[in-house]
Subunit: 206 residues, 2 copies
Amino acid sequence: MSTGRLSNTSYVVLGMIGLRGPSTPYDLKRGIGHSVGYFWPFPHAQLYAEPERLERMGLLAVQPEESGRRRKVYTLTGLGRAALREWLSSPTNVHFQMRDVAELKLFFNELGDPADVPRLAREQMAQHQQRIREYERMQDRFGDQPAVARRMVTLRLGLEMEHTALRFWRSLAGTADDIALPAGAEPRAYARIAKEDSPQNEGPLA
Amino acid sequence: MSTGRLSNTSYVVLGMIGLRGPSTPYDLKRGIGHSVGYFWPFPHAQLYAEPERLERMGLLAVQPEESGRRRKVYTLTGLGRAALREWLSSPTNVHFQMRDVAELKLFFNELGDPADVPRLAREQMAQHQQRIREYERMQDRFGDQPAVARRMVTLRLGLEMEHTALRFWRSLAGTADDIALPAGAEPRAYARIAKEDSPQNEGPLA
DNA sequence: AACAGACCGTATGAAACGGACTATTACGAA
DNA sequence: TTCGTAATAGTCCGTTTCATACGGTCTGTT
């Protein structure tokens, strides 16, 4: 039973196992892929190394699967659960961190061709519209399942951020139209964006 | 003159020198500190290593200062300027990346005490209000200087994101009041927030 | 049996991280 | 003149993260 500091990634692992119950690294990978991964990205390789560390610290317990592949199934220990609770109740005085290549390009735009900006803006609109569809699909699929309802709240923030970004880039795109509808997209999602998005245009900076 | 891939950090350095003209690493550090650093954070130590790399690649030229300290002053070469332009005109099909401990804790909230959430929300409100004040101060200070006006546009996005986040956390804080005014804060900033922020409450998810 | 395709895990070198630590300069006070 | 100290400027270095390529394994199908 060794010691060592717990990183935010450690808490993602602990928390995920807390929510899902006994899990293999691969389970975690998938679970994270469409939830926490949106606001705490990291490479999946860490999901094999980190639980081992946590097990050495006594925060997780391992046992091999019964079935053919005998993967490692991790469970929270009492210590692990306590660490998690302590983390959740400790103050969080950090600001979120944003990493945005598009903003980078926008900031430096005077050094390039003026036509770069509307093009960039349209590319970003596509990004955000796609992300919004992704989030809405999740909301439709899981929004009414009481078991997960409580974690859907982060999705709401995600959606609002996306709408804000979309609105911003639209204002730079130099056209009133949305970009072309990609094949296979539900028009409903777009309709929703248009409907819900426009009243916000009276906002502070639009 | 070596080769090697250019990272986003490389472009930050090139771009910053492009905007500011000849610069020392320390100049860059300060310049980045209240601009690009907000959407592309990285440790300042890189601002000493990266220009060297870029110089080896022929994208920057160095010359030592005249004055006492003989610091290294970097300038864009034609090659550097071209690399920058090419980057600016190339497609950007990545989505911004967000790293938010607060959302992490919110997502896992069911594993802790229910009282954790409003506390977290208030902490985050403070973070965002402070950031908004920071941004507004910049806007007041530089908003009317034509030399920098074109890069202020990213500030607008930053502000909108902050307002969105603030609104979200306020809705979770369980109180209608803003948090207490810290000593020394201009009340004006708060007044603005309150005024500009509220009409948005009719938005999609509030 | 062969194969495809999803599933699952490992390996690895290169960057990035962060934060402590050092050195330099300026400048006013003692 | 020396001292103190604050701001400026740069370095170092052990630890994490990162990206990504690669290697195995299982299941179902033909």
